[in-house]
């Protein structure tokens, strides 16, 4: 199989902080790879190294078949990148951005205009093309950012938290475009995100990173099947029955509290199902007003691998690539 990205033992150290601490990964051509982790996990630093903006401290990385250290210009010619925070000039229009970007990539004058028009249409910014970027919404900026990353027809696309701060509608539109790029144009996509849903919906495979190390990797379905088991959440009809409910639920696995009113149990194996819980509650005459089976999520995977939830893990260390 041909790989778009091959990384072996990648390390990046900032003074005494190992922001990336020995990463190994491969991304097949045309694949969407989701790099999931909390803030400060090392996602952006990895992207900066893979896009040649930062030299690695140790290890090797090949992108589009080229070494990121010795073949930097070739790597850059093969990749497009939309880095964290759409880096746009508020005083220029969308069209002027594309004009600049196409010129810097050495695209011929005639082709520059055609390419710009095509990309503006593709990301739905034709009508706003001549407005200054400072009047754009967050979603429009992200779409322009994506268009700029595509001007030279890259084989590999790096998207660093592309939907952070976007409303659900803008997020869905961007997901659709990224999916189309991979499926129809065969573009390899390396996507960092801290959103579980984004990785789940968009990525063919997911690598979960924490403290600079990949703690789990696989398809979202395989990761969830491998690590996590469903959770049953119940709210007793009579709050007095809460201790009794807890005693019954803990027969099926590890007890957790989802909300002050409810109790939940992560089923401990394949032997138990929702029906078993219902039968046990019925036999014990515990009445519940709410009973729900939660499918395992990538957060369960993260929890199982790190002992923390993804939401709560974010503020432990700064995102190194942003402070250099």
């Amino acid at each position: 199989m041909a790989y778009g990205i091959e990384v072996e033992g990648l390390v990046r150290v900032f003074k005494d902080i190992r922001a990336v601490d020995g990463i190994d990964l491969v991304v097949a051509e045309g694949e969407i790879y989701g790099f999931l982790g909390p803030n400060g996990a090392g996602k952006s630093t990895t992207v900066h190294v893979l896009t040649t903006l930062l030299p690695p401290t140790d290890g090797t990385a090949r992108v589009a078949g080229f070494d990121v250290v010795s073949d930097g210009p070739k790597v850059r010619a093969a990749i497009g990148a939309a880095l964290q925070e759409a880096a746009l000039d508020p005083l220029l229009s969308g069209r002027e951005h594309l004009r600049l970007q196409t010129a810097l990539h050495g695209i011929t004058k005639h082709e520059r205009k055609q390419r710009s028009d095509d990309l503006l249409e593709r990301v739905g910014l034709t009508a706003a093309a001549d407005r200054k970027v400072r009047t754009y919404s967050g979603g429009m900026k992200r779409r322009l950012d994506l268009a700029l990353a595509l001007v030279h027809g890259p084989r590999i696309l790096f998207l660093d938290e592309p939907t952070t701060g976007l409303d659900p509608q803008s997020r869905s539109a961007l997901w659709a475009e990224v999916g189309r790029l991979a499926q129809e144009d065969g573009v390899t996509v390396f996507l960092t995100t801290q959103y579980l849903e984004e990785a789940d919906v968009l990525a063919d495979r997911v690598g979960i990173i924490d403290h600079g190390r990949i703690v789990a990797e696989g398809t979202p379905a395989a990761l969830k099947a491998e690590i996590a088991h469903p959770t049953v959440e119940a709210i007793p009809a009579d709050p007095e029955q809460r201790p009794k409910l807890a005693r019954i639920l803990e027969q099926f696995g590890e007890l957790t509290q989802v909300s002050p009113k409810s109790l939940a149990v992560r089923l401990s194996g394949d032997d138990f199902g929702l029906a078993d819980v219902v039968r046990a509650l019925d036999a014990a005459e515990v009445h519940v007003e709410h009973l729900q089976l939660h499918a395992p999520s990538l957060d369960d995977v993260f929890l199982a691998k790190t002992g923390r939830t993804l939401e709560g893990a974010g503020s432990e260390q700064p995102e190194i690539a942003d402070v250099t």
Partner: protein, 256 residues
Amino acid sequence: MTRLQVASLARRSILRTLRQPAYVLPPLLFPTLLVAVNAAGLRPSTMLQGFPTDSFLAFAVAVPFIQGALFATMNAGTDLARDIQNGFLNRLALTPMRGSALLAGHLAGVIVMGFVQSVFYLAFALAFGVDIASGPAGAVMILVLATLISAGFGMLGAFMALRTGSGESIQAFFPVLFIFLFMSSMNAPRNLMTVDWFRTVATINPVSYLIEAVRSLVITGWNAEALLLGFAVALGLIIVSTVVASHALHVRMTRT
């Protein structure tokens, strides 16, 4: 391709400058206001024996050319620092753009603005009755020298931006540049300065020679020594600031 890169970055730099009134108006208005106030208040200085002209405005009109160039330091630096802070420099670094194209393109806005400012100051001087002793060719020489000075200070601003990556740092440094201006021969010929330490400071201050080169074209005519010193300082500033800015860019853009 480098020519296209420079032209594209220059276009952006010029557009950015023209679209920010705060970058255009203060460099035009403040120096002319200052020279107008000084010309009115310090007119009696022309009575001093040995004062080179009987018009203080003619004597002082060289100052706006330098003061305007100092604004170039802040404006060019702040713009580049903003590019660093918001990640735009990373976007550029991911293209095949050469570092030299970035600096050259970035400087284009400074040069255009420096030229426009110089034309404005010259028109101001002529409108208020200043005769250019060196004639029309001298007026052209003033524009050339003033534009070079703007380029030198603009590159100094680019260096500071690349070194610090902070627009705030550049703005904080801006008043320091004005100390160089005030500690120069801006308001009095050096040979008439009676305070020894001030005359010494003004003599070792390179800004004095920039002012005196422009001043010589206005009030004296073609003074080879003054012009040589002025152009040497301007070109020296361009060379030194370009070298340090190039190094700072190399450090800042650590792409492989």
